[in-house]
Symmetry: C2
Subunit: 108 residues, 2 copies
């Protein structure tokens, strides 16, 4: 039954509260792993693993600068989520048009 859908990794990535917190933190701006480790009460490897999951889901990017690796939100990453929501357009008929416009704009 479970043929891996495109939403699979993103939903699973966001299912974990720590990961959502990390993501939330990154929306405040790019941050290196050591900064993130300082902000949260989990070990550095745990942070790296979470970031890896977020990256695998396409939700974040990374960039190396010297010894630091800076992570930042990948704006296009949440598109699968929007797509998934749009698929259930039938349940909010009035809003479909707006969602469609949103999707069009995100394509570019």
């Amino acid at each position: 039954m479970p043929t891996t859908a495109p939403q699979d990794r993103i939903f699973q990535a966001l299912a974990d509260p720590s990961r959502r917190a990390l993501f939330e933190s990154l929306t405040r701006g790019e941050a290196a792993v050591n900064e993130l480790t300082a902000r949260f009460d989990i070990s550095q490897p745990a942070v790296s693993q979470h970031l890896s999951a977020l990256r695998g889901a396409g939700l974040v990017n990374r960039r190396r600068d010297g010894r630091h690796v800076y992570y930042r939100v990948e704006p296009s990453g949440i598109k699968p989520l929007i797509d998934w929501l749009a698929h259930y357009r039938a349940f909010w008929p009035q809003h479909v048009a707006r969602l469609d416009q949103l999707l069009e704009r995100m394509d570019k």
Copy 2:
């Protein structure tokens, strides 16, 4: 770290592919547990457990009719998801206004 957020149950509910498939199936229309069990290749208890999780997340309703229990999508259930998305408005500035309108309309 993990103080149970409002998005918690909904993200976790949607993290499972079988559960998303069930939800998808319900968007085609209300269905009883035995129908859903027939559609998928998992046991009836598994279906009931998934439906319970979806219900716990506010994504579906149920209604009893005789011996059957019919489940249907709760349209307001995806609002937390929209809310969560809206929170990251900063990343798609052009779309914020539209998302806001969408949210306003869902409130009623």
